[in-house]
């Protein structure tokens, strides 16, 4: 499954389904300006999952937002199927946006607390009308994909646990039939056994739907578990990509790997 290792960190990534090319993002102006992403290039090839690891403040969430068009890069481009999507406006922006969906970290904030699950999914199917009755079948199918009963559609987010809410957020992204999913720390707020549920769900969806996904996490083990290839981000720069677990080259990657608390592999049990 592992892609051909791209050892040189700065190397041009192979053209992907979704790609960032020399993206630089700066927040603030003048003296307070902070470069959050510095000439970052990253490609997500079709049908694969690319993992992005980094610590807090490394810029990984900003890259996620830039990839889906919520943050405008100061320079560089975001490409979808080789066509530039960054800098689009109006209807073309809307059309491009629907093709890439973001699932975010906080299960308390990812769903509108005042909106029933059915309506939230209906909105993903038809953003204008958002009529749950018109799309009842699709909604039920979407909920089934994340192993929830169809009657969940009639309930409100607060009636679900954190893991269930994250699954609903994934279902909402999926029913929009996106070509790429960007998952930003979607399991970091969850307990271990609940995280396992979400990770298994992702594994199944990857196999069944041939998902193209950018999976972002601070957890090396989780990223390794779901990704075909991994990139390491540190202070707004991708320092290493490729087979970082077997042969880490960059000192930061080695430090990261050495810091991760490890359990013995399951085979010994």
């Amino acid at each position: 499954m592992t892609l051909p290792a791209e050892k040189a960190a700065a190397a041009e990534p192979a053209a992907g389904k979704l790609a960032a090319e020399h993206v630089t993002v700066v927040f603030g102006h003048g003296r307070r300006a902070a470069t959050v992403l510095d000439d970052v290039s990253l490609a997500v090839p079709e049908g694969t999952t690319v993992g992005l690891v980094g610590e807090s403040g490394s810029g990984k969430s900003t890259l996620a937002k830039a990839m889906v068009g919520l943050v405008r890069p100061r320079s560089g481009r975001i490409l979808l199927d080789g066509a530039q999507v960054s800098g689009l406006r109006g209807a073309r922006l809307t059309a491009a946006r629907r093709r890439v969906q973001l699932v975010s970290q906080d299960p308390n904030s990812s769903l509108d607390p005042r909106m029933r699950i059915g309506r939230a999914l209906a909105e993903a199917i038809d953003p204008r009308r958002a009529d749950p009755r018109a799309h009842a079948e699709q909604i039920a199918a979407g909920l089934e994909m994340v192993a929830l009963e169809p009657d969940a559609a009639r309930r409100y987010p607060h009636e679900f646990s954190g893991g269930q809410r994250q699954r609903i957020a994934i279902a909402r992204a999926l029913v929009a039939r996106p070509e790429v999913i960007v998952a930003d720390e979607i399991t970091s707020a969850l307990d271990c056994s609940v995280q396992a549920e979400v990770l298994n769900l992702l594994a199944r969806l990857r196999a069944e739907l041939r998902l193209t996904m950018l999976f972002i996490s601070h957890d090396l083990a989780v990223v390794r578990h779901v990704s075909d290839s991994v990139a390491v981000m540190h202070r707004g720069v991708i320092v290493e990509r490729g087979d970082i677990y077997a042969a880490p080259a960059h000192p930061y990657t080695r430090r990261l790997l050495a810091s991760a608390p490890s359990l013995p592999p399951k085979e010994t049990r």
Binding site: R98, P127, R128, C192, H225, R255, P261
Partner: protein, 611 residues
């Protein structure tokens, strides 16, 4: 989502009555209010309950009749304030970032000016009169709405579901109607009721000082004004409008309070303090002659529900004991019960809770508690007092409980900071906590906890809020302190990997009970036996294992504390469950040196092996 309360209901009912009065009073008492009885400035009597005014008109009738004008003015001013404010707030929020910044600053400044001064300026321009007063007060109250609308819109718009809607291609106006407005409606409603009370007071105030309603019209404020003049002859004349203004204002503020209480997350979930009669301890703790910390039959409860249910364990001198479990397992409550730092809403009792010769149950001496137990908390950003410098916080225990003077305490604190590898310790003592990074704050917290050379260090998820590289540094520090000083530790974590890398012995908690206790060597070697421990291990992805393997998931969720079954709390999710499991709680059975597990299925296997 608005929860009803008695205050809210009473307020709404009262305001409803006043509204009825506003409609009916001029029809019923309009004649009386205008009738010149010829008996001027009479005191209260059977015919005139509140007496008569200077022209001999009935004060009670006039007060009742004035309800309509007062209410109409108040509602109009509130409507003006709300409309202008909400439109302005929305406009500021919709505008670009530069305009928004400037607009918010301007609104902030306007809000900080007394509405009365603003109203005076408007009244001066338009001249004294009813319409001028309404406009003046309406305009004066609008910045409050503008600010709330802009702030709420900004906070709601920053939430993930709004970003999700935008990515799904929901048109902006629909995002506004569908997501923003429903989520900001409740606080705006609260402000509306507050503004109603405020505009009532202010409008009546303007009429009272002669800048509002002009004769021959009258509202409560104008009536109070004439009442003030008659205070010596007929005090009741002022009393009528005074009570009317106050009562209406109070009712409106009750409504506001009720709405706010319903919307305020702080108020939700405050449970009662119900002290339960101590339950006899089921099983005594493993008799451990060398134990430093002995916990036997610890029970922590809130509102009559047991959150920690009969936990027994020991910590030996120099030993690091880890407690692992998922959220709600009671691991942090156990740690805080040992530290005697439980929140006010929960109570704890135990058969025994002892740190060597110090009985933690019977009000232990504060100086011994403070110096012999060190505590490191989960969130280093929140656990230091933001208003005090680090030096003051670190030296507090030494000065209070060890009697050191300021200089000696500071020297020791600087040494302690240096020991956790904080550079320029003297300078750091003069800093406020927010001037340090997260990792440095947690190291300072460890220094603070180790400062008195405690016999036991309790660390409650000390690395959860930190990055993995920083976590590794913190774990190194703890290991070092343990090796150097022989400090025993009770280390709480949800991360079984962290526990395995630091601790000597592990307690696995589930639903308020310890389900398994084993040496870390056994855990690492895969010799854990309890089904929950094994499931937890299998659910954890490995950094050193190739991916794609299916992780084990545990069906269902942990039971809520109030719904825990009489038997094993894990039974409903356990693959090995037997009928017995749901009926009686499993006792801990010994599986080797320091290895115990509470499981009926294991019990049976042990019996089979024995026979």
């Amino acid at each position: 989502m608005i929860r009803s309360s008695r205050g809210l209901a009473a307020g709404l009912a009262g305001l409803g009555l006043i509204a009825v009065l506003a409609v009916a009073a001029p029809l019923v008492w309009g004649g009386d209010a205008a009738h010149l009885s010829g008996a001027a400035r009479e005191g209260a009597s059977g015919a005139h309950w509140l007496g008569t005014d200077a022209l001999g008109r009935d004060v009670l009738a006039r007060t009742l009749v004035a309800t309509r004008l007062t209410l109409v003015m108040t509602l109009s001013a509130t409507a003006i304030a709300g409309t202008i404010g909400i439109l302005l707030g929305t406009a500021v929020w919709v505008a670009g970032p530069r305009v928004r910044e400037a607009g918010l600053r301007l609104i902030d400044v306007m809000v900080s000016y007394p509405a009365v001064i603003l109203a005076l300026a408007v009244a001066a321009i338009l001249g004294a009169g009813t319409a001028a007063a309404v406009v003046a007060i309406g305009v004066a109250w609008s910045p409050a709405f503008a600010r709330l609308t802009a702030n709420l819109a900004a906070s709601v718009a920053g939430r993930d579901f709004v970003a999700a809607a935008r990515l799904l291609g929901v048109p902006p106006h629909r995002v506004l109607v569908r997501h923003l407005l429903p989520n900001i409606a409740e606080p705006l409603l609260v402000l509306l009721s507050v503004a109603f009370a405020g505009t009532l007071t202010a409008l009546s105030g303007l009429s009272f000082i002669g800048l509002g309603v002009q004769a021959p019209s009258y509202d409560w404020g104008a009536l109070l004004n004439t009442g003030l003049d008659a205070l010596y002859t007929n005090p009741a004349e002022a009393l009528g409008p005074a009570v009317a203004i106050t009562l209406t204002g109070v009712l409106a503020s009750f409504v506001g309070d009720g709405l706010a209480a319903g919307a305020d997350p702080h108020r939700i979930g405050i449970s009662g303090r119900l002290k339960k009669a101590p339950v006899p301890v089921a099983a005594p703790a493993a008799d451990d002659g060398e134990a430093l910390l002995t916990v036997a039959g610890l029970r922590v409860s809130a509102g009559g529900v047991d959150l920690v249910d009969g936990v027994s364990f020991t910590v030996r001198p120099g030993e690091i004991v880890g407690v692992v479990g998922e959220s709600g397992s009671g691991k942090s409550l156990t740690a805080m019960a040992v530290a005697r730092l439980l929140p006010d809403t929960v109570t704890a009792d135990a058969g025994a809770l002892r740190l060597d010769d110090l009985d933690l149950l019977a009000g232990a001496a504060p100086d011994r508690l403070a110096t012999e137990i060190g505590v490191v908390y989960q969130d280093p950003a929140a656990s230091f007092n933001p208003a005090l410098r680090l030096g003051g916080q670190l030296t507090e225990v030494l000065r209070r409980h060890r009697g050191l003077d300021r200089r000696a305490a500071r020297t020791k604190a600087a040494e302690a900071l240096a020991a956790v590898r904080i550079t320029r310790p003297e300078a750091r003592l003069r800093r406020h906590p927010h001037e340090l990074s997260g990792g440095m704050r947690q190291r300072a917290m460890i220094a603070s906890a180790l400062l008195t050379g405690p016999r036991l260090l309790i660390a409650d998820e000390p690395t959860t809020a930190l990055d993995v590289t920083v976590q590794a540094e913190i774990l190194d520090l703890l290991r070092e302190a343990n090796r150097r000083d022989g400090t025993a530790m009770l280390f709480i974590s949800h991360d079984i990997g962290v526990i395995a890398s630091l601790c000597h012995r592990v307690l696995v908690m589930y639903a308020g009970r310890i389900v398994e206790e084993l040496p870390v060597g056994d855990l690492v070697a895969g010799r854990s036996r309890h089904p929950y421990t094994r499931a937890l291990l299998d659910a954890t992805p490995r950094v050193d294992a190739e991916g794609d393997g299916e992780l084990t998931t545990i069906p269902g969720r942990p039971p809520a504390p109030a719904d825990r079954a009489a038997g094993c709390a894990f039974a409903s999710r356990c693959a090995l469950a037997m009928p017995k499991c749901t009926e009686e709680p499993p006792a801990a059975i010994s599986l080797g040196a320091d290895h115990r597990a509470a499981c009926h299925a294991l019990d049976q296997k042990v019996e089979e092996n024995a026979s």
